[in-house]
């Protein structure tokens, strides 16, 4: 258990990459991108965890109680928002690309090469 959560993050990142490499549909590529991104959430929050710590919210806890690292949580929160908005933007591009190109298969998207 000492480094397993970090390794899990690495594995998830690679899994997302693999899905993107083998994808035959841009929508799936975008989905895999968000899988790869969840690796960053897992890594950041795993790093901030403290054994025996509680959530860093003091509304009903003593200010002296042991808490987990709040900074990584703030970072992850930013990351979640960034991820969601980028996904939305990419999906919007995919919709229009499908309209104009008639396909979302990377093998058939041949407008830009050489």
């Amino acid at each position: 258990m000492t480094i397993l959560p970090y390794l899990a993050a690495g594995w998830i990142f690679l899994a997302g990459l693999y899905g993107m490499v083998t994808s035959r549909n841009i929508i799936r590529t975008i989905g895999c991108l968000s899988v790869a991104q969840s690796a960053t959430y897992v890594l950041l929050l795993a790093i901030g965890y403290r054994r025996g710590g509680t959530a860093p919210v003091f509304s009903d806890a003593s200010p002296r109680s042991r808490v987990v690292d709040p900074v990584v949580q703030a970072l992850t929160l930013t990351d979640v928002v960034v991820g969601a908005t980028v996904t939305a933007l990419l999906l919007a591009l995919a919709i229009q690309l499908r309209k104009r190109h008639g396909t979302l298969d990377p093998d058939a998207l041949t407008g830009l090469k050489g």
């Binding site: 258990m1 897992v42 919709i95 396909t103 979302l104």
Partner: protein, 104 residues
Amino acid sequence: MNDANTLNGYLIAVALVLVTATATAAALTREPVRQAIVLGLLGLELAVLFTALQAPDVALSQLAVGGALTPLLIVLTVRKVRREAAERPDASGDGDPGAGSGPR
């Protein structure tokens, strides 16, 4: 206190295994709508993991974004694409792999 810690440790371990497995499954799922469903599931499991990691704020956003918003956007995108494919059967299909042009 110690028992609660051990319990939380187990919870983290289980959630971690589930998250890893579901993420792998989501990356391997070819069909976008099915992938959206697996992604939704991944979002829920991540929310559980984050709660166990004492990050309720992140869990709440993950629940909203990963569990609902992202899958919804993917489904809407696929729906638009499907609608077009249905109106123009000549265009190469999306959604189901292999229906597009063959490998080079």
